[in-house]
Amino acid sequence: MIPLGPLPAAVPPSWYLILSAILFALGVLGFLLRRNIITVFMSIELMLNAVNLSFVTFSYVLKRVDGHIFSFFVMVVAAAEAAVGLAIILTVFKNRQTLEIDEVSSLKN
């Protein structure tokens, strides 16, 4: 497992995956804890990146290119999503004059 002692020459792929998990967890944390809409959005991007890393790792393990393709598509979708999402944020800001996520709660109850 995770060996303690002298560093190995190369790391097993599971370490990459653990790194991906850590980044994902950080992204979720940011999403839950931050109040600025834009920061929340960026946490989402962080989560997407973590997943990308996971894809590429598995692509390496299985010796196939499909993981890379997936990762490519994720990036494309993230780009589109960022564009539209930011446009929405702009509109919300124009209407509410606030970037606090808690104040955009008209759907309450």
């Binding site: 979720v28 996520i101 808690d102």
Partner: protein, 639 residues
Amino acid sequence: MQLWLIPILPFLGFLLNGLLGKKLSKPVINAIAVGSVLLSFVWVVKTLSALGAFSGGLEETYKEHYYTWIQSGMLNISVDFAIDRLTAVMLMVVTGVGTLIHIYAVGYMAHEGGYYRFFAYLNLFMFFMLILVLGANFLLLFVGWEGVGLCSYLLIGFYFLEKFATDAGNKAFIVNRIGDFGFALAIFLVAIHFGSLDFGTVFTQIKAMPIETSAGIFTVISLLLLLGATGKSAQIPLYVWLPAAMAGPTPVSALIHAATMVTAGVYMIARTSQIYLHSPWALDIVAIVGLTTAFVAATIGLAQNDIKKVFAYSTVSQLGYMFVGLGVGAFSAGIFHLMTHAFFKALLFLGAGSVIHACSGEQDMRYMGGLRKYTPITMVTLLCGSLAIAGFPFLSGAASKDLILEAAYEHAPWMYWVGVFTAGMTAFYVFRAFFLTFFGEYKGKPAAGHGHGHDDAHGHDGHGHGTPHESPAVMWIPLAILAVLSVGGGFINIPHFLEPLFPLQEGEPARWLEYVAMAAGLGGIAMAYLFYVVSPGLPESLATTFKGLHTLIYNKYFVDEFYDATVVEPMVDGSRQLLWRVADVQVIDGVANGIGSTARGLGGILRRAQSGYIRSYAAWVLAGSILAIAYIGFMGLAR
């Protein structure tokens, strides 16, 4: 033989008048209403003569099967009509007297509102009564039984804008219901014990069984049937509805509460005679109930001032006589009295209606009097009826009543003496009414002009109110026919006719029994003459002397008040406190509202998930996904 036409014709009349009556003119409504019953009568006569009833035939029951109504396990109930000699008598009485009363009602109700409704209900009543009589099993009898109860309610409460009328209707229906409860229980027992409700099947089975000496199934069934009969035929303890039923129009009182519906109980006991014959103890109870009722009702009738109430209590009393006849085993005598009573009681009621019509709606006898100058036809016909009921020799009433009294003597002499005394009272109160109405001076509103000529052979309607006037022909012709029947009806030898069903007893009864009864009747008439014609002050002084007794009788022994206090009030109160406050408001409403408020509460809890905060949504998603991953992961690992 198309027996079904007999009830269906009046039913058609009901449908036509009930649905279209609003748009039809009076002559058309009359034609439909009277015509349907008349046609029914004609059909009865035709059927009976075809069956040979008038010429010594019809020894066996003639049955027609229509369709199977209920087929459930071993119970097979079909819609069958059957005619035997008993049914023949009932059919003739019901349709014959019914037709006459329908004709009379055309004249009596001429000025009343709701004309078509009245005749529709009257036709519906005929329909149900005929089903009751023609039914060949207990269930059909019960259908007719309930149906006539319904029509009675509708017709008593005909003037539904008057509270006392609707109250009377309610009283009739509710008191009847109590009787019907007993009847229904009896039907259930019959179905359980004999496996069928068909008269033929059940009675054949019973004939082969031994007579009970102690309380057994026959006694129970008989007593339950008796309960039903006391409700419908107004015997003690369920007679209180009949005097109140006088709130309905007089033709209703004549038809339903004198000639036909109230006799349903008598008919029912006669029909189920086999059951009663197997339980002598129950038969005794029937006789005692009848005798007590006859006596008590007669005493109440002595002091009433409303002419219709006098006749109402008279009906109760005469029904008691019929029950006595049944109870001492003389079933045919009871049915004979049923027939003659239909004649003279219908006559008395219709005559009373004529009198009331003459006095422009006045029913209190203290404001009548001297009407023999103004309404001679009515007087003559009423005289016939009164003589009949009083037991004047050779008239119909005497013939049937004597038979009953003789049979009573054979059974238990004390019954005979009570019956004779009651006969005397009967004669007294009937002639009290007669003399108060027709003799003396007219005590009503003063006459504005002079009265119309008497003895108009053709009826006319152009009368001024204020002076008493004779009724139109459409009203006194039925009276005349009924008078003839009251006088001559005694010569129709019903007991002989019913012999195949109810074997007659052997031997001639002692002649003196007849004479004593006759003497009692004549004595009653004489006393009434004395009290009300010769010395009119006598009743007043007697009343003051025996004040307590008079008050007791006048207030009908306070029976109504007693029932009110013991039965009605507790039930209404109990309903209000228990059933309404607790069962309805708390339990049922509580459950219904409770479901609503539970749903609301649940919604309130679940609503918290919809906080509107995006982040809490994310938290929920995270929690869910953790659960999902854990589940899949560890399931996978476990493998």
